[in-house]
Symmetry: C2
Subunit: 336 residues, 2 copies
DNA sequence: CCACATTATTGAATCGTTTCATGAGGGGGT
DNA sequence: ACCCCCTCATGAAACGATTCAATAATGTGG
C-alpha cells in the first residue's frame, strides 16, 4: 500500500481533509468530539504528515543549515551545539553540512540547500570565492549569518572572533617568554581566519623584532601539523616556538616533535588555537587561544531569527567576540 | 517578487512547462535549439528547482540520514565520511543527525525523518528501546541499515564490529602484561556496544582469575572518564590497569590520572577503544582497539543501496568486522 | 419568531514539479 | 498519394498538504 494521506484519514474519520488539517495545525478550532475521532483515525492508520507537501505549500522549509569547514573539528561541533537549542525551540530543524574546506563541496551543498528552500543559513565560508554564491542565496531571500567571518565587510549579519587580536595574544605570549625565533604553521592562507591569525602574529613579531617563519599547510588538521614539523626539523637554526593556526595542527605538530625527541616546551614551545577539549589532555597540555564557541553559535542563531522576524526593515548586525589566551604546560617557562 | 518557477521560465522561453522539465531531466529528448533557449531563460531569471515539489511528486526524498550517537566522537565522523562518497555518487544527499545518546532526541529525529520521507537510514540505535521506532520506520517502507549494532538479532541489514571480541582483546592484552586488578570504565550499560565490550572483558577476567571492577558512567565522553577516575582514586587497593569503553573516556581518564600524579603506564595502564586520531597523540600514546571505521560506513551505505535496488525480494545481510588491538605506550611493560 | 452572532465544517484553489497520453510536423518507402 | 514512423512539444492530471471564503448548525437577545 502506498503511504496513507490525509484523504485516507479524512475518509476513515468521516470528515473532510480540511478538518484533518485543522486537527493537526489548529486543534483549538475543532470540536472536541471530532478531534478525538480524527486523532483515533490517525493512530489507527499510522498516518505521518508529508513534509514535502507541507513545504511546497508553505514555500519554505523549516530547516536551518549550518555549513562548517570541518565537522571533525570540535570547534565547529561546539558552535553547532550552541546554535541548536535556539533553533529547535523555535520549531526549526538543524542540518549540518561539511564543506571540508573545499569550495566545490561547499558549492554543492549551497546548491542543494537553495533547492530545498531552507529557512536560513549559518555559514563559515571557505574563502573569498564563496562570496558570489553567498550573495546569490541572499538575493534569493535566504537569510544568512556569517560565522566566524566577515565582521563588517559583507552586507550580512555576522558573528566573529577577533582573530587578529588572537594572533597577537599568541605571539605576544611567546615573545614575553623570551622566544626570538617563532614559526607559524597553518593554511591555506586563503582561509581568512588563518590570514588574520597570521597577521596578528606578524604585527607582534615586527613590533618586537622577532624572527618569524611561516609554514603554509594545505589544511587545518592533524596531518598538516605533523608534516610541517617534519619539514621544519630538516632545517638548521630552527624556531624555538610554534604558533599553530588551530589545535588540531598543534596536536599534530606536538606529536611529530615528541616522535623526534624534541622536548616540549623547553626545546620548542607551542601555542594552539581554539582550546578544544583535547588541548588540555594532550601529551603536553597545550596553551591555546580560546574562543567562545557555543556562544558564537547561539548568537548566530539569534541573529538569524531576528533577521527572519524583522523582515524587510532589518539592519544587519555584526557581533565580535574577543578571544582569550589559556596558558598551559606547552609554553611554560619554568618547566625547563 | 516571489521565487521564479518553471512557469516563468516556460513563458520567457516561449515553451510549455513540460518542456522545461524535460530540459532539466531528460535533455536528450529536447531539440538542441529549444534546449539552449530554455537554459538561457533559466540563467536569465536565476531559476532554482523547488525540491519540495519534486519530492512531493516523486514520493521520496533523495536524502540518506545517518543517525549517530555523538557527532563529536571521531569514530562516528569517520563512519559518516566512509559512507558519504557512495551515497553522493548515487545522487543522494547525506544528512547527519546526532542523537546524543538520548532516546528522546533520537525519537524526535526519527519523527522528522519519517515526515521527510527519507530515502534510507543508517542508524546506530541508542538502546533497545529504540527498536519499536525502528520497526515503525521499517514498516513504513523506509529501508535502513543498523550500524555497529544488531548482528543477526534484528530483521535488518547491519554492519557491526565484534565488540565482545574487542573486549577480549583489550582484557587479554592487560592480563598478558601481568595485571591482576583491572577496572572497566564506561556506560551506560544499556548501550549494547558498552555491554558487549564489558562482556568480552569479563570473560577473559573470569577465565584467568583476574579481579575486575566496573565503573559505570552516564555517557561515553571526556568528562565521564575524568569523573570515574576521581572516584576510583578515593579507594584503596586500586586497579593497576583500566579498560575504557572508548577513547574519549580513556583520554579523560588519562588526564585525571596525570593530574593526580599517577604515572601511566607503570602505575596504571590504560586501553581505550576506537583508536581515534587523538589516541596516538595523547599525553601517553594510547593503546586502543581499532575498528575499521570508514569501511563500516562504506559497507553500510552499500547494503542500503542494495536493499533499495533489490526491493521486495531482498534478504537482509549482516556484516561483522573483527577489531584489532593497537599497542602503544599506555600499556607498555618495558616503560617502567 | 426573526435577526444576528458564534462556532464547526466543508470544498475548492493553490503551491511547483513530473509524467504521460496526445498531437503536430516531417521525411521515407511503396 | 498514402501510410507509417520518428522526433519534439504540449497540456492536463497527479502528488499531499494548507488556507480561506462560504455555508450549515446552533444559540441569544429583542
Amino acid at each position: 500500500m502506498a503511504t496513507t494521506s490525509m484523504k485516507d484519514v479524512a475518509r476513515a474519520a468521516g470528515v473532510s481533509v480540511g478538518t484533518v488539517s485543522n486537527v493537526l495545525n489548529r486543534p483549538e478550532a475543532v470540536a472536541e468530539e471530532t478531534r478525538t475521532r480524527v486523532l483515533a483515525a490517525i493512530g489507527e492508520l499510522g498516518y505521518v504528515r508529508n513534509d514535502s507537501a507541507r513545504q511546497l505549500r508553505a514555500g519554505r522549509s523549516r530547516t536551518v543549515a549550518v555549513v562548517v569547514l570541518d565537522v571533525a573539528n570540535p570547534f565547529f561541533t561546539d558552535v553547532v551545539r550552541g546554535a541548536e537549542p535556539l533553533i529547535e525551540s523555535a520549531g526549526g530543524v538543524v542540518t549540518v553540512c561539511d564543506s571540508g574546506e573545499d569550495v566545490r563541496r561547499e558549492r554543492r551543498h549551497l546548491e542543494i540547500l537553495e533547492e530545498q528552500r531552507v529557512l536560513g543559513l549559518l555559514i563559515t565560508p571557505v574563502d573569498d570565492s564563496s562570496a558570489s554564491w553567498i550573495e546569490r542565496l541572499s538575493g534569493h531571500d535566504i537569510p544568512l549569518v556569517l560565522v566566524d567571518r566577515g565582521a563588517g565587510r559583507h552586507p550580512h549579519c555576522s558573528v566573529a572572533v577577533d582573530d587578529v587580536h588572537g594572533g597577537r595574544l599568541a605571539a605576544g605570549h611567546l615573545v614575553e617568554a623570551g622566544h626570538e625565533r617563532i614559526a607559524f604553521i597553518g593554511g591555506p592562507t586563503s582561509i581568512p581566519q588563518v590570514a588574520d591569525r597570521l597577521a596578528g602574529c606578524r604585527q607582534v613579531c615586527e613590533e618586537s623584532g622577532t624572527h618569524l617563519e611561516v609554514y603554509t599547510t594545505a589544511g587545518l588538521n592533524f596531518a598538516a601539523g605533523r608534516e610541517a614539523v617534519e619539514q621544519m626539523l630538516g632545517r638548521e637554526d630552527r624556531p624555538t616556538a610554534l604558533f599553530c593556526a588551530n589545535d588540531l595542527v598543534a596536536l599534530g605538530a606536538l606529536q611529530a616533535l615528541t616522535m623526534h625527541g624534541v622536548k616540549v616546551p623547553h626545546e620548542c614551545a607551542i601555542v594552539g588555537y581554539d582550546d578544544i577539549d583535547f588541548a588540555a589532555a594532550a601529551a603536553v597540555p597545550l596553551s591555546s587561544v580560546r574562543q567562545p564557541r557555543s556562544q558564537l553559535g547561539r548568537t548566530a542563531a539569534q541573529l538569524l531569527f531576528d533577521e527572519i522576524a524583522e523582515g524587510e526593515g532589518h539592519t544587519h548586525r555584526n557581533v565580535v567576540f574577543q578571544p582569550e589566551l589559556i596558558a598551559r604546560a606547552s609554553t611554560s617557562v619554568d618547566a625547563s
